[in-house]
């Protein structure tokens, strides 16, 4: 593994191996001094061309817990505003001594393009509506630690699948790891076709809920309201919102997940978000461990001793 660009580049054994490593880093993070010297002397740069809080901070936290140095690029204060191209920007970051670049960009395929331009490992921190592989890994780790397995679980992914890199990444990871994945959305928010995908598709959340072990809610992109993909937020909530009433109909042990940031009162009700069986904050914690595992895997081979 030289880059992490697309979760579908990893087979089941590779996914499980990364999750096993992540379990080890969960243990590291629970120590009184949650830090190991594994990547001392390495410089990890986060280049986020699109707004992000949790993913960028999570990568920085992971890098620091591995004793790496970090650099942060943010477009707001950069030469991008002077018209510098993506290619020149990342070549510059590499020339400054970055050993690994984490890239988030609004354009599909951006991280892959960057990996073609650079000689250092590149991690895709999200490219458009395409891929967000570390999100898939952290969600898989969260579920595996809660249930002790992924094989055979029923995972319902609910909401704006069409425009979601989280959905594309998670459904591939969960189905590769043996879960049965159902996509739940109105047709305007489903991909135009799911031919060849190992998923089932439903437009009725209430039919899927009683069987689900994991209900994975996607953020409703309220800024898409103008694109007329559904009539109104109240109508969305009535069909697909995780209300308290729907929460009550889940089977015992079932969990609710969300990649954040949440629209409380839209895809997830307050009471559901704050329920102990909602794993939203657990996902955030697991994100650090998973990203440690990824950074270690991509850079670890170069460590002396």
């Amino acid at each position: 593994m030289h880059h992490l660009l697309d979760i579908s580049d990893l087979d089941r054994a590779e996914l499980e191996s990364l999750l096993d490593d992540s379990d080890g880093f969960v243990e590291v993070l629970a120590r009184p001094i949650p830090k190991v010297p594994a990547l001392r002397g390495k410089t990890i740069t986060t280049a986020f061309f699109e707004a992000s809080t949790r993913t960028r901070l999570s990568f920085e936290r992971a890098a620091k817990a591995l004793s790496a140095d970090t650099m942060t690029f943010s477009p707001g204060t950069s030469s991008l505003s002077k018209g510098e191209s993506l290619k020149d920007t990342v070549l510059t970051l590499q020339a400054m001594g970055s050993n690994l670049l984490v890239v988030r960009h609004q354009a599909v395929g951006a991280a892959r393009r960057v990996s073609e331009w650079l000689s250092i490992p590149v991690v895709n921190g999200g490219d458009g509506a395409h891929q967000h592989p570390t999100q898939a890994l952290l969600d898989a780790l969260t579920v595996r630690r809660r249930f002790g397995r992924i094989e055979g679980l029923q995972v319902a992914i609910v909401g704006d699948i069409r425009h979601s890199r989280v959905a594309r990444s998670d459904l591939q990871a969960f189905s590769t790891l043996g879960a049965r994945v159902t996509l739940v959305a109105p047709r305007t928010l489903l991909p135009v076709t799911t031919n060849g995908w190992k998923v089932e598709v439903s437009s009725t959340l209430d039919e899927v809920l009683p069987e689900a072990d994991v209900v994975y809610l996607l953020r409703v992109q309220t800024e898409r309201g103008g694109a007329s993909v559904f009539p109104s937020l109240p109508e969305y909530v009535s069909r697909f919102g995780m209300t308290r009433e729907r929460r009550a109909r889940l089977k015992p042990g079932a969990v609710v997940m969300h990649p954040g940031p949440m629209n409380r009162g839209v895809e997830i009700a307050d009471e559901v978000a704050d329920d102990p069986d909602a794993l939203v904050l657990e996902q955030v914690s697991m994100g650090v461990a998973v990203r440690m595992a990824v950074l270690f895997r991509l850079l670890g081979g170069e460590i002396d001793g």
């Binding site: 191209s85 290619k87 395409h130 135009v192 031919n195």
Partner: protein, 424 residues
């Protein structure tokens, strides 16, 4: 008067392809026949080659005026001649758009100054390509424009399209449509289907093209006017064209080398060189477009040569401008996609586009008295597309092994390409 003897080729004539020599005297063909006496002429070996009228591309973007960093009429003319062309029709989506007579005259004059190919400008249908009111059609006509299009966009208003078709039918002009419904296209990036769904990119359904073609054919029926479909990309459009032609409508169509060669699975690479509008379609669409070019439902090849500078294409797929270059690889790409002999090639690459664009000096099969505007194609020449005459290199064939290439080109009796070398 220096004579030239094109010797030993397979010549496309009104009687079909015949093994013959072609003697050129000045700007015209003197005679066509087997075993002609050299009699002091400059003898050009055409063994194994196809000899026919100079190729005509009804659809190129030369980017001048306004975007000369991508291409200009000089570099575009070089690319055209190197690809075997003697005439090109430059699309009017320049900056400013060619919507008035003086602009069309400028383009043609620049072409004459370069002198490698005849450059004809197409004209806008609407002022500024804005789709609101008719461009200066009479002025454009007087400046020699015969083909009218808002290429890059459809003429979306059917009433406006009707008026343009009616007005131009008085003169014999033709509207060429970039068929794409803006609402259905939805700002899409590639064909809507398996690949767009996997990549999370907005797709452009085949129907975005087909609804416009279907509507336009109804307007053509209403007006009785000529109508041309640019860069056909879908099986549905082919079916509409087939029905329209059997009904007797005055409709023609073109296909691009890239739509004949590649399907949307190429976009899985997210390599921007596969980004163009209309997008690469399904394999079944490629098969339908190939079959239509073979049987004549699609009349001609138009490259939609669309240069973009390297730095403009060296970005993520989603941020890349649309279009690929095609002039220098067109013959090889089409020969690789569709089984055509010399008669078929010259019909689709010369006769049909010359007729469409009203180019009286082009598209004539070699015969006594015909213009000495000739292209000699070596159909079995193997080569790799590496060095381009175009200012841009955004070619999906770049680095690929190809077969078939123009060896010699003459424009009015003068070599513009000899043994694959430009002469100018």
């Amino acid at each position: 008067m220096a004579e030239i003897l094109l010797a030993g080729g397979l010549v496309a004539t009104p009687r079909g392809a015949v093994a013959a020599d072609v003697r050129l005297a000045g700007e015209t063909v003197a005679e066509v026949g087997p075993g002609l006496d050299p009699n002091g002429a400059d003898v050009v070996d055409c063994t194994g080659c196809w000899v026919g009228p100079g190729l005509v591309d009804p659809h190129v973007h030369l980017r001048e005026p306004g975007q000369e960093w991508k291409e200009d009429i000089e570099s575009g003319s070089q690319a055209a001649a190197a690809g075997g062309f003697t005439a090109v029709v430059a699309m009017p989506n320049t900056d400013p758009p060619i919507d008035a007579g003086h602009l069309a005259r400028f383009v043609a004059e620049r072409g004459r100054q370069v002198g490698l190919v005849d450059v004809f400008s197409a004209g806008c249908v609407t002022t500024g390509r804005a789709g609101q009111r008719l461009a200066h059609l009479d002025e454009l006509w007087a400046a020699g424009v015969r083909l009218f299009t808002d290429d890059g966009d459809s003429v979306a208003d059917a009433g406006l399209l009707r008026r343009a078709m009616e007005y131009l039918s008085d003169m014999g002009g033709v509207v060429a449509q970039h068929a794409e419904d803006r609402g259905l296209a939805g700002g899409g990036q590639l064909h809507e289907g398996e690949v767009s769904s996997l990549l999370g990119l907005t797709g452009i359904p085949a129907e975005a093209e087909e609804v416009v073609v279907a509507r336009d054919l109804a307007v053509a029926r209403l007006t009785g006017a000529r109508y041309h479909v640019q860069h056909v990309s879908t099986a549905g459009t082919v079916a509409l064209l087939r029905a329209a032609k059997s009904e007797g409508l005055a409709v023609t169509a073109e296909a691009t080398p890239h739509h004949l060669s590649f399907d949307h699975r190429e976009v899985l690479s997210t390599n921007p060189v596969f980004k163009m509008y209309p997008p690469l379609r399904r394999p079944e669409d490629v098969a339908a477009v190939r079959a239509a070019l073979a049987d004549g439902t699609i009349d001609m090849v138009g490259t939609d040569h669309a240069p973009h500078a390297a730095h403009e294409k060296d970005v993520p797929f989603e941020d890349a401008p649309r279009g690929v270059i095609g002039l220098e690889t067109a013959v090889a790409a089409v020969l690789g996609a569709v089984a055509l002999g010399p008669a078929g090639v010259f019909t689709r690459f010369a006769l049909a586009p010359a007729r469409l664009a009203g180019l009286g000096a082009h598209g004539h099969l070699p015969g006594p008295g015909s213009p000495a505007t000739i292209t000699v194609i070596d159909p079995t020449r193997e080569w790799v597309a590496e060095h381009f005459r175009s200012r841009s290199t955004n070619s999906p064939w770049r680095g690929k092994r190809l077969m078939g290439r123009a060896r010699h080109v003459l424009l009015r009796g003068r070599f513009t390409l000899r043994d694959e070398e430009l002469r100018w």
